[in-house]
Symmetry: C2
Subunit: 105 residues, 2 copies
């Protein structure tokens, strides 16, 4: 079963933007923290050992790119992976890194 991989230039830019956001270690760890279930900002900061301010900056980017979605519950705001695609992409790549042969170039 073949899939369509050709996309427009605008879609390529939007795609690249999402990958770019995943391409920072801090942000990736934030995404991983919010991958399975909603988690609030302070817990993300604690788990990733990043400052709440920095986490918030990154969360804003991840939210506008629709990688994560947010929901306020009282004083706290919970973030979680936007959809199954995001989860699949991350788990696929975790598998990719895990299975690599790591032979010479």
């Amino acid at each position: 079963m073949k899939r369509k991989v050709s996309i427009t230039d605008d879609e390529a830019i939007e795609l690249a933007e999402i990958f770019r956001l995943m391409g920072d270690a801090s942000r990736l760890r934030i995404i991983l923290a919010a991958l399975a279930r909603p988690i609030c900002v302070s817990d993300i900061a604690a788990q990733t050992k990043l400052s709440p301010s920095l986490v918030s900056h990154h969360l804003r980017l991840l939210r506008s790119a629709r990688v994560l979605r947010a929901e306020r519950q009282g004083k706290q705001v919970f973030y979680v992976a936007a959809d199954q695609h995001v989860r699949s992409v991350i788990t696929d790549m975790v598998a990719h890194v895990g299975e690599e042969a790591h032979d010479f170039d």
Copy 2:
């Protein structure tokens, strides 16, 4: 069926590096060009409208990160997606972008 999503810090950095490489529009278009079948450098340059030099620079990065793999055939060098994980990640994200609701923030 649950999957493991927790990874070590080193793996997170390696993962982020791969995503970072996908997070540039030029490189992403290069990856897309080499996603389905091997394609030589000059054809990539023609298809993406990027200079051969720039394409070569990017290909070196994509090759060392094992996103693409290379094979020389005479004067030409053909590049193709390293494995099924890379293809899956891209097609998943294409689907993600394609299906998004695009409602307000």
